[in-house]
């Protein structure tokens, strides 16, 4: 099983553990991750104006590069996944955008790349059964709140990762690793994201609420796929926050 791997900028500095553990676990599961050569930042956040072509070009280039190699494009970071998947969707559904992109890049995207999040790969291609058998050190019923944040699942109709209001994809992984997932109502709410740059109070309020909600439901730790969620929840809450790949690597004993 081979994927074009798009780590994203944050995974090269702040979120090195997310990247490192993803690679280690992939190796154990027999998945080959070929890092896309000369990839550029996805753009950070998806721009909501549909005609904003320039900001999406880096993602377009990544998609075209993956298409040339004939491989699905794998991401681990929630934000990268969100931008890549939505840009891919735009290319297929918005003819005007696709035409502008073609004029810019000189090459055409044919629409054959499947953008896959690492969690989707675990669920759909590896299967929780195989993960369970790869576990060396089960999490021993550790109570873990799965914090999805806003970007992994929404907008639901484009992302199609899981039900945005009642997701299970991370909970199922935790179960496979021997932990006890704690579903808390705030688990697919936004942490405040980049707004801390402008006003720290909003981020603080939101992140505090998320962590408090997880604690109220009995969580002892949070896992996430998003560097920004980890940063904010870790900074404004008092629960340990881990990447899901870190926890998987820990259970696999690597």
């Amino acid at each position: 099983m081979e994927f074009c791997y798009f780590p994203g900028c944050t995974l090269k500095n702040k979120a090195k553990d997310l990247d490192r553990c993803a690679r280690l676990c992939a190796e154990i599961l027999g998945v080959k991750l070929t890092e896309l050569p000369e990839w550029q930042c996805c753009g950070g956040v998806y721009v909501s104006t549909s005609d904003d072509v320039a900001v999406k070009l880096a993602s377009v280039r990544a998609l075209i590069a993956a298409e040339e190699r004939g491989l699905p494009l794998l991401t681990v970071c929630s934000a990268c996944h969100n931008v890549l998947k939505r840009t891919e969707h735009d290319l297929r559904t918005n003819a005007e955008f696709a035409a502008k992109v073609k004029a810019y890049t000189g090459s055409e995207y044919k629409g054959t790349v499947k953008v896959v999040h690492y969690l989707e790969m675990l669920r759909d291609l590896i299967g929780y059964e195989k993960i369970r058998s790869a576990v060396k050190y089960p999490l021993d019923g550790m109570k873990i709140g799965c914090y999805y944040g806003c970007m992994l699942l929404r907008p639901g109709r484009v992302m199609r990762t899981d039900n945005p209001e009642d997701p299970v994809i991370m909970e199922e992984l935790i179960k496979a690793l021997g932990g006890e997932p704690v579903a808390f109502p705030e688990r697919s709410e936004c942490c405040g994201a980049y707004t801390y740059a402008e006003s720290e109070t909003l981020t603080e309020k939101r992140s505090e609420r998320v962590v408090q909600s997880a604690k109220n439901c009995g969580a002892e730790a949070l896992v996430t796929a998003c560097p920004l969620c980890k940063y904010n929840a870790g900074k404004y809450g008092d629960l340990p926050v881990l990447y899901f790949t870190e926890l998987t690597a820990k259970a696999f004993g690597v």
Partner: protein, 664 residues
């Protein structure tokens, strides 16, 4: 000799606005067989019809072509005009130069050209029209009402009062429908059961009315005036004629924990049960999925305690066949399933309920005897949040809900808020809404009373999420007027679920050959002018089966449908449309293709003797069309390999002549 008159309508400016009618007249007057062509501002007016009469007499016309609106609008008008002028009414053709021409084209030259082409095609067809004569057939003087809610009851009551026989088929063990489940009704706050029960009791004693409860329509055949309907009478394992409704069986039944459908599963019932106190007929029914006797053959307690000896474990479904002249559909509406709306936590929290569930809770005969309590802990809620439009007015992409407004939710939400405030004035009530829609007699006053007199907090904005943290509910919402986010700690959340057609409506529509719209509501024959008739002759629409309606509107439509049915049943005979299929027996090979495609089961096969060229006699199987059942859809004419099937009034020769005329 064919002598054809062409009449071109201006339809005010409807046609004239895009079509040069004078040019059409000029072009048509040069056509072969056309001896007269004229224009009139309104052909459907009495002067237009007089014009047809005068021209027919003066020019000895043998056929009439009218270039006007769709034949759906005025075909009957012009056929009548032709008949009064002494022509066979089927020697009339209509070229639709309004809907199919002037309304869809802007360019006059283009539209005029097309109008002329359509008119020529109509004349080509008209030249090949044969004289047709309708058959008359008798009308069965009994009506069938499908659905025993308030709509069905009203329709049946009105028909029976006119002296005709009516049967009600209700799929549940009792009639009464949704209205029987309600506590109070808006905007007068009458007790729903108090105004409904006299009607259900009356109808059960009405000698013109038979009630087939716990029964469903199995199949429908025939046509207007002469329907044959098979009704499945589901086994209730209790003899309806013997049961006295004493309820001893239910009391003694050892299986007590079955969710009670009438209380939407909030309360429980026994395996043998009477659905509710005022059930009609008041007859017990055994639920075979939970009865120990029917499942394992062990128990039989109800049979032993029944003094009337009414229990019969060996009962089977029975099919009865009945004949009807008219059918009223009164299948009503149901709230949608709200479980896909995960953001409201309905699935996870017992304290997030639907409005109909609240209705049962508020009802004195309901699972809590009318006490407002939380289902999770039995404690009275101090803060109640109502969420409007759950599944109504959704975007097209949101497959969980409906795009339409469910019409009744704003009012029942106001009603429920008032009922709670009347009983428990210290309750804090919030209603989140997109718009409050209260058009109706005393409706807006009622809603304002909730907000102004009772202090219900109406907040414009929608709820984004209902968080359930270990049973503690927090409602996160937007207040659009104050432009702020709200977090409300709620004890009870009530969802105003959208309504949709009853689950059985779709299957029933196909049995009746009646059409339904994209949402599953029955289509009206005309949305404005024939709102209680379906496009299928003899099938009428009563109440909310054609769209969401409140009780007064349902009752009004139910009576209107009854009036239409009474009009039909009062006729001794009906005339059939002679535009039906017929088989050329010499060409027919008896292959059955036509019978297989016929949606009306109008085609049968007969063995017929044929004299062969060598004077021998051969018996062949050939198709025979029942003209009374045939609706002239033409499916058989297309299916027939040998070209043996043809349609009166729309023969192959006529259609090809039209095509030739258009293509030449």
């Amino acid at each position: 000799m064919k002598r054809i008159g062409v009449f071109v309508c201006s339809c005010g400016s409807n046609i004239e606005g895009a079509v040069d009618v004078c040019k059409v007249v000029e072009a048509m007057s040069k056509e072969p067989y056309v001896v007269y062509a004229a224009n009139c501002k309104y052909m459907c007016s009495s002067s237009g019809q007089e014009l047809i009469g005068k021209a027919a007499a003066e020019y000895e016309l043998t056929g009439i072509a009218v270039c006007s609106c769709s034949p759906r609008m005025h075909e009957a008008t012009f056929r009548k005009a032709a008949a009064s002028a002494g022509l066979n009414p089927y020697k009339v053709e209509i070229a639709n130069i309004r809907e199919q021409c002037s309304w869809v084209h802007k360019d006059t030259a283009e539209a005029t050209g097309k109008a002329i082409t359509l008119a020529k095609a109509a004349v080509s067809k008209l030249c090949r029209d044969e004289e047709l004569y309708p058959q008359s057939f008798p009308v069965t003087k009994r009506a069938l009402v499908i659905g025993g809610g308030i709509a069905g009851i009203q329709t049946a009551e009105d028909i029976s009062n006119a002296g005709y026989k009516v049967d009600i088929v209700e799929k549940k063990p009792s009639i009464g429908g949704k209205m029987a489940m309600l506590d109070k009704t808006f905007p007068t706050l009458d007790c729903s059961a108090c105004i409904l029960t006299p009607k259900t009791v009356d109808i059960s004693h009405n000698e013109n009315v038979r009630i087939f409860s716990y029964s469903e329509v199995e199949s429908v055949s025939g046509y207007v005036g002469n329907f044959t309907v098979k009704i499945r009478r589901k086994a209730r394992y209790v003899k309806e004629d013997l049961c006295t409704g004493c309820g001893l069986c239910a009391e003694k039944c050892p299986t007590k924990n079955v969710p009670n459908e009438f209380d939407l599963g909030l309360g429980s019932r026994s395996a043998i049960y009477i659905p509710f106190a005022q059930a009609v007929p008041k007859v017990a029914v055994i639920d075979p999925d939970s009865c120990r006797m029917l499942k394992d053959g062990k128990c039989g307690l109800c049979s032993r305690v029944c003094g009337a000896k009414a229990i019969d474990y060996s009962q089977k479904d029975e099919i009865t066949e009945e004949k009807y002249g008219a059918i009223a559909v009164a299948t009503g509406i149901d709230p949608i399933d709200v479980t896909p709306f995960d953001e409201y936590s309905y699935k996870n929290s017992k304290d997030v309920i639907t409005a109909l569930e609240l209705e049962r809770i508020l009802n004195a005969a309901g699972p809590t005897n009318g006490r407002l309590v939380r289902l999770s802990d039995g404690i009275r809620p101090k803060t109640v949040v109502f969420i409007s439009c759950v599944g109504s007015r959704c975007t097209e992409e949101d497959e969980r809900g409906k795009t339409y407004c469910s019409k009744i939710c704003c009012m029942y939400t106001a009603k429920q808020a008032i009922l709670i405030k009347e009983k428990y004035p210290d309750t804090d009530i919030y209603v989140f809404y997109i718009d409050v829609r209260a058009p109706g007699k005393n409706f807006d006053e009622f809603y304002r009373r909730a907000a102004e007199k009772y202090g219900v907090k109406y907040i414009k904005g929608m709820v984004g999420k209902v968080c359930d943290e270990n049973g503690v509910l927090t409602v996160k919402a937007a207040d659009l007027i104050n432009n702020e986010q709200m977090m409300i700690g709620a004890d009870l959340v009530v969802l105003a679920a959208a309504v949709e057609p009853d689950k059985t409506a779709k299957a029933l529509a196909s049995k009746l050959n009646a059409s339904i719209d994209g949402n599953g509501f029955f289509n009206e024959a005309h949305p404005k002018l024939r709102p209680v008739e379906s496009p299928t002759a003899g099938v009428y629409l009563s109440g909310a089966c054609s769209g969401p309606k409140d009780i007064p509107e349902t009752v009004a439509q139910a009576s209107a449908a009854a009036a239409k049915i009474i009009g039909l049943l009062s006729k001794n005979t009906l005339e059939s449309d002679p535009c039906t299929a017929h088989a050329d027996e010499l060409k027919c090979s008896g292959c059955s293709l036509c019978a297989n495609v016929c949606p009306y089961n109008a085609i049968t096969y007969i063995e017929k003797e044929f004299r062969m060229p060598d004077k021998t006699v051969k018996i062949r199987r050939v198709a025979s069309v029942n003209a009374a059942v045939c609706r002239g859809c033409g499916a058989c004419t297309v299916a027939c390999n040998n070209g043996a099937m043809d349609l009166h009034g729309f023969s192959r020769e006529q259609i090809l002549a039209e095509v030739d005329s258009i293509c030449s």
